[in-house]
């Protein structure tokens, strides 16, 4: 995979980065940033939808992920877990102020957690948390019904994650999505909002940064630019035009096929972040032809994973990755399930013949707006046809897709995708369909045994082994086919220093040549 061209590129980028670091950071200026999605709301607890990066500058949580995808304290100074794993005590950072100038205390954290458990987007992950209380002004304590090692991980996961709001704001918003008074502890305050056009953030001078070295979303932050203006531009080609004309300083989620063109442009640099987005396939293991495990195995056997990734763009900007959900760093991206994907069409056809399949239509469902996942559809359509299946490809817009996928009688196979870094609890979403019902004949007892270890053990190595077992169960059950990762490309104007080279959620540490 490492091509000479790629090596050269890495070298050039390293040199450029070294040069950048050699310069003294400068304060000031306005950073205009093109993001791919419009902002639903600043209310960070409420929505998991991207762009999370906009919210992440305004509100802090208790933990954030570092570059190894391990949770590090953000608003927390120190913490301890009781020996039985049931009680977690957090000492909060002192001298943290909200944007309205009031100090953040344990009461705010408790009030925010009250709200989160009521309406938070991922509150379900926290069902082991039984109670929480303020011990003193700067200490909060959480009590679990059973040991939960992944607690800080779930706290650290940004999208729809827990964030600390002032207690009065929690009272004002209640269960509704907040629509004004976005007051947090983050390095930037909300400025002028022109809905669907631009979202201005203004530096908060009294921001108290987290301790520790800067790493991915964790650690010390320097807010160099005075203002950040986020501009939603949905069309990837338009984002590229906007960075080339200098209308924006940074463009996120640039198409892989634009890499060479942007690299060649004199006024633009491109940063490649790995991993970026996962691409996989979901099979309907409860109804229709793929309820037959033999047919699922047949597809696993037939599929040419590389072919499904080649459609994503130039070959050094993606990788085949058969590990379910977790990434290297986080879980040493293991185990490798490649043996399940022999790329053997002949054997696959034999398996189809052995299966119960008798020529009924196989509904392949996709949503063209959902890139990069949708890119695999024409190739998958062909793979299924070559296997001898009677494929019927249907496309829906994103909203209809979201609804139809809940109806197991309406589809048999579809594309799927998601972010690369996810909390451990997410692995359990492989077990159930969209209504929360377990897939037919899933080996749940075996699963639960290993899953309990993952959730409860505090020893990373032990948890890692549990993940390996869980992955093997998934590989064997074959209701999901994990194909690969598409790297995230960020384009920055050459005047932008320290262009974000990770999929991080921060534009702090970025500065502008004046």
């Amino acid at each position: 995979m490492m091509h000479p061209r790629h090596l050269l590129l890495a070298l050039v980028l390293t040199l450029a980065a070294a040069l950048a670091f050699a310069q003294e950071p400068q304060r000031g200026g306005t950073l205009t940033v093109a993001v791919a999605q419009d902002l639903v709301t600043f209310d960070r607890m409420m929505v998991t939808a991207p762009p999370a990066i906009v919210r992440a500058h305004v509100f802090d949580g208790l933990f954030s992920f570092d570059e190894n995808f391990l949770p590090q304290p953000t608003l927390v100074e120190d913490w301890e877990v009781s020996d039985d794993g049931l009680t977690w005590t957090f000492d909060l950072l002192q001298d943290v102020e909200f944007h309205d100038g009031t100090p953040m205390t344990a009461a705010d954290v408790v009030a925010s957690f009250d709200r989160y458990m009521r309406v938070g987007a991922r509150a379900g992950e926290f069902d082991r948390v039984e109670s929480w209380e303020a011990v003193d002004e700067h200490t909060v304590r959480f009590h679990m019904s059973s040991p939960w090692a992944a607690f800080t991980e779930s706290l650290g996961f940004d999208a729809g994650g827990f964030a600390v709001y002032p207690a009065w704001l929690v009272e004002e918003w209640g269960a509704d999505v907040g629509s004004s008074n976005f007051i947090g502890t983050g390095p930037y305050m909300v400025g002028e909002i022109i809905p669907e056009e631009s979202y201005q953030l203004v530096r908060y001078e009294n921001h108290r940064s987290a301790n520790g070295p800067s790493s991915f979303s964790a650690g010390t932050r320097h807010a160099y630019v005075d203002e950040i203006v986020f501009v939603p531009i949905a069309d990837p080609a338009t984002r590229v035009s906007a960075i080339l004309t200098g209308e924006v300083d940074i463009a996120f989620e640039v198409s892989l096929d634009d890499f060479a063109r942007l690299e060649a442009a004199e006024n633009v640099n491109v940063e490649v972040a790995s991993p970026g987005a996962r691409v996989y396939i979901k099979l309907n293991a409860s109804q229709g032809p793929f309820a037959d495990p033999v047919l699922r195995r047949a597809l696993q056997t037939a599929i040419d994973l590389e072919d499904h990734m080649f459609v994503q763009g130039p070959e050094d900007l993606w990788r085949v990755n058969t590990a379910p959900r977790f990434q290297e760093g986080q879980w040493m991206w293991s185990p490798n399930l490649e043996s399940y994907y022999p790329n053997d069409m002949e054997r696959a056809r034999e398996l189809v013949a052995e299966s119960d399949y008798d020529g009924e239509p196989v509904v392949l469902m996709g949503s063209p707006g959902r890139l990069p996942e949708f890119n695999i559809i024409p190739v998958l359509d062909q793979t299924l046809r070559e296997m001898g299946l009677n494929v019927e490809t249907v496309s829906y817009d994103a909203a209809t897709f979201s609804q139809v996928r809940q109806d197991l009688s309406a589809w048999h196979i579809k594309h799927a995708g998601g972010p690369s870094a996810v909390p451990a609890a997410r692995i359990s979403s492989s077990l159930t369909d969209r209504t929360g019902t377990m897939w037919a004949d899933f080996p749940v007892d075996e699963w639960d045994e290993h899953y309990a270890v993952l959730e409860e053990s505090l020893d990373l190595d032990v948890r890692h082994e549990a993940v390996e077992e869980l992955n093997l169960i998934l590989g064997e059950y074959a209701n999901e086919i994990w194909i690969g990762d598409v790297f995230a490309l960020t384009a920055c104007g050459t005047h932008v220093q320290n262009c974000p080279d990770t999929y991080a959620l921060w534009l702090t540490d970025v500065w502008l040549d004046q």
């Binding site: 096929d257 060479a260 499904h308 459609v311 559809i377 024409p378 190739v379 496309s395 817009d397 909203a399």
Partner: protein, 299 residues
């Protein structure tokens, strides 16, 4: 984009005109005019050319339009791939040929459906005046929505597939046909010999089919031509919005809009389908423009 630029040849209800009735000389006059006017001939030629391509697509195509070849994506035109390959490594030439079928099929189906429905509505409203009020309020209501927004909303409700694209566009165009037909009917039914036929107790069906329909056809024919042109463009526009013929089946519209992401890296992905759409629609517009001059000289 779905709103017809010119298919409102009769300015009604405010300005009913007196109809021109020269049935005996009409056909001969049309042919003479057609042959004299080079632009109309050009338009006719281009239209016929595109129809032939659409019908012959399965024989013209050199590859299966759905066959992907991911390792040979975005290849420029060559002997193997006459128009190059797209981002899935599919043969663009074959997709454009098959796309002609889809686009022309959508266009003609929309013309047929909207004209038939529009004529029925217009005839009923113009001839049976009791129905006029309610039918015209109905068409007013539909026409109050910008055509493309109505089509997008209908497609969102019904789901995007070829049949629903046809339905959605027909719903946008039929009221316009209805209004034109109604205007024609209103003026024709006031003519002396039609009034005489009504007075002498002729059956409504007979009067409508013998006198009204034949004499109200000219503007409808002109309008149909423009609807064909608009429907092909509208299908492309809908594809761009994400509500057109759904992939991976090729239509000119979805080939062009998908290629829009590769304008720079692979210009052939937009140039070829773009030119095909332009030529087809230009041909139809030239034809319609000429027909209008001939059939409806007042315009």
């Amino acid at each position: 984009m779905t709103d017809a630029p010119l298919p409102d040849p009769v300015r009604e209800p405010t300005a009913p005109q007196t109809a021109r009735l020269r049935p005996s000389t009409k056909a001969g006059r049309i042919v003479r005019h057609l042959l004299r006017n080079q632009l109309v001939l050009l338009g006719l030629g281009l239209t016929v050319f595109m129809i032939v391509i659409a019908l012959a697509a399965p024989w013209l195509a050199t590859h299966d339009p759905l066959d992907t070849d991911p390792r040979n994506r975005l290849q420029p035109p060559s002997a193997e791939h006459l128009m190059g390959t797209d981002n899935f490594g599919r043969d663009l030439f074959s997709r454009v040929m098959h796309g002609a079928s889809v686009s022309m099929r959508v266009g003609f189906a929309v013309v047929f459906l909207s004209t038939v429905v529009g004529m029925i509505l217009g005839l009923v409203a113009g001839y049976f005046r009791a129905w006029d009020g309610i039918l015209m309020r109905f068409t007013d209501g539909l026409m109050a929505f910008p055509g493309i927004l109505l089509a997008i909303a209908i497609l969102a409700a019904l789901g995007p597939n070829e049949a629903n694209v046809i339905l959605a566009l027909s719903v946008s165009y039929a009221p316009k046909v209805a209004r034109v037909v109604r205007g024609q009917v209103l003026s024709i039914r006031e003519l002396d010999y039609v009034q005489a036929a009504i007075a002498s107790g002729g059956s409504n069906w007979r009067i409508v089919m013998r006198h009204i329909v034949p004499n109200s056809m000219s503007p409808t024919i002109v309008q149909s031509t423009f609807i064909l042109a608009l429907a092909i463009l509208a299908e492309a526009g809908l594809s761009y919005i994400g509500a057109g013929t759904p992939p991976p089946a090729p239509s000119w519209g979805n080939i062009l809009s998908e290629g829009g992401q590769f304008m720079y890296q692979a210009p052939w992905l937009t140039v070829f389908p773009g030119i095909f759409i332009m030529i087809a629609v230009l041909g139809i517009n030239l034809l319609g423009d000429g027909l209008r001059d001939i059939l409806d000289p007042r315009m």
